[in-house]
Symmetry: C2
Subunit: 303 residues, 2 copies
């Protein structure tokens, strides 16, 4: 492993999981961590999310050859500025943010010219957040996308790739622009839709909130799971990946309008065609082990 000391800034679900995954998979690599919230730092110490919990971002970054920013994408620039004075010229700065064009720009702006920067995004998570949410296996069999800027050092791209592979992830390299488009579809729009429908259901007058909760096993509860994700993180994602999100949202609403028309006009064939087509993509996701085939609406104890 190229990196001897990794500094983790932000000790929530992602940062904490990285610390625990390093402890499990790369026991020779030292870790330091920092979080703006003192309560999080305390809990991180108790759980051992990093070997050393520092009193500032700069202190955590001292002597690190890899710094990973695990804060909401709207806080990246500020976090990078806080620690920029502590970086050695060769220290690689990376992150785990869900939008990459904005983070790339923020880091380039905050850090000294020439500081190596390779943004990254491990496509993994749960609906839980905070220092108790992380676990070492979070990245197992998940994809981590690297978006090196033009002119990035291939040796550092390889080193970061090796790092994520060691934590159990599979690595893919693409441009920040393409990343933002792909994730708008596979992550951002699903979250936006889930948040919205849960909001719609909470505000109805003719159906009570109690009824929505009681009968949520009909499908709705899966949306509430996604809609329980961290609000600050997600606010920042939508503000920072605005164009791709609006583009994909436009395509979704066009398709939804077509479905609405099919229902209104009683066009059962159009509905049946779509409902059949969508099964194939589910099969591929299971084949590629990005989900498992156990029935889940029933949740547990199937005979």
């Amino acid at each position: 492993m190229t990196f001897r000391k990794v500094a983790i800034i932000g000790l929530g679900l992602l940062g904490g999981s990285i610390g625990l995954a390093i402890r499990q998979h790369l026991p020779g690599v030292r870790t330091s961590g920092y979080d703006n919230d003192p309560a999080v730092r305390l809990r991180a110490t108790e759980r051992g999310l990093a070997q050393e919990i520092a009193g500032s971002a700069a202190e955590a970054a001292l002597g690190a050859d890899l710094v990973i920013l695990c804060v909401p994408v709207g806080a990246m620039e500020h976090a990078a500025k806080e620690l920029s004075g502590a970086l050695e010229p060769g220290t690689l700065v990376s992150d785990v943010g869900s939008s990459k064009q904005s983070v790339s720009a923020a880091l380039a702006k905050a850090l000294p010219p020439g500081q190596p920067i390779i943004p990254a995004h491990p496509v993994a998570g749960t609906e839980h957040s905070g220092p108790d949410a992380g676990f070492a296996a979070l990245f197992h069999n998940r994809w981590c996308i690297l978006t090196p800027p033009e002119g990035a050092d291939p040796a550092q791209v390889a080193a970061l790739s090796e790092f994520w592979t060691a934590l159990g992830a599979m690595v893919e390299v693409m441009t920040a622009e393409h990343h933002d488009l792909v994730l708008a579809v596979t992550s951002h729009i699903p979250h936006l839709i889930a948040y919205t429908i849960v909001g719609t259901a909470s505000d109805l007058e003719d159906v009570t909130r109690g009824e929505v909760i009681k009968y949520s096993a009909g499908g709705f509860r899966d949306f509430t799971r996604i809609a329980a994700s961290d609000p600050v993180m997600w606010r920042d994602v939508f503000l920072n990946n605005r164009e791709a999100v609006l583009e994909m949202l436009g395509r979704f609403t066009e398709d939804l309008t077509a479905m609405q028309r099919a229902i209104r006009s009683g066009n059962g064939d159009a509905l049946f065609d779509l409902f059949t087509r969508t099964r194939a993509i589910r099969r591929s996701i299971i084949e590629q082990k990005q989900d498992d085939a156990r029935p889940d609406f029933g949740r547990g104890d199937h005979g």
Copy 2:
């Protein structure tokens, strides 16, 4: 238990689960079953989904004091007609369909005047379908909604309620009209949205299907799970609960448009407010045991 013999017409996920649940929870009750598909009948025999697998719906209904139709809602009228000649005057006819006004009307039309009818809807299911999908615990801790028509015999409502309670369900009684509105929100719209976004993602030109699959762990895969549900069943639901679905879809798209505007104008507060509000409903669902709190995006092996 009031019922001595229950006939189950349609031996997919719901019908099969009822058969297995009766065997487990009501061993004194006899069961007969029928499915239009000979391959399903064969598999139902092998799995013992009912004690006797009959050669026709009418044969299955002979001597039953409760007949439960477990076919897609668009097939209810036909199934009821097929067996109506075999019914005794006091035999209670029920069903498990996801829309209740249309089923109520279909059964009343197909069955002899005066035949007792109490439509029902156990709000339970998985994304799997067919004779291999059922399991005895499917109804445990799930709500079953009865929608007795005006003038229904209270003793039969009580008997059907007792039956579902014995299978592990909790029972609620409401009008068919209200049922259709509630389920439009908690089940039908979530399914429609999930089918649609999975369709949108499958058809993109600038993001490949392979990429959608690889990065589905970002949230998308939860929608593919729902969108893998039985296409015939769901086509029929949308055609048969058209008004309530269109009404709720209208409210959802209004809210989605407001979110779109918030993203476009960079209104982070509006996004944050919604994303915070939606967490409360998730907590209530977990408190009421309609879902569990284990993190699920990670799917298994959290340390």
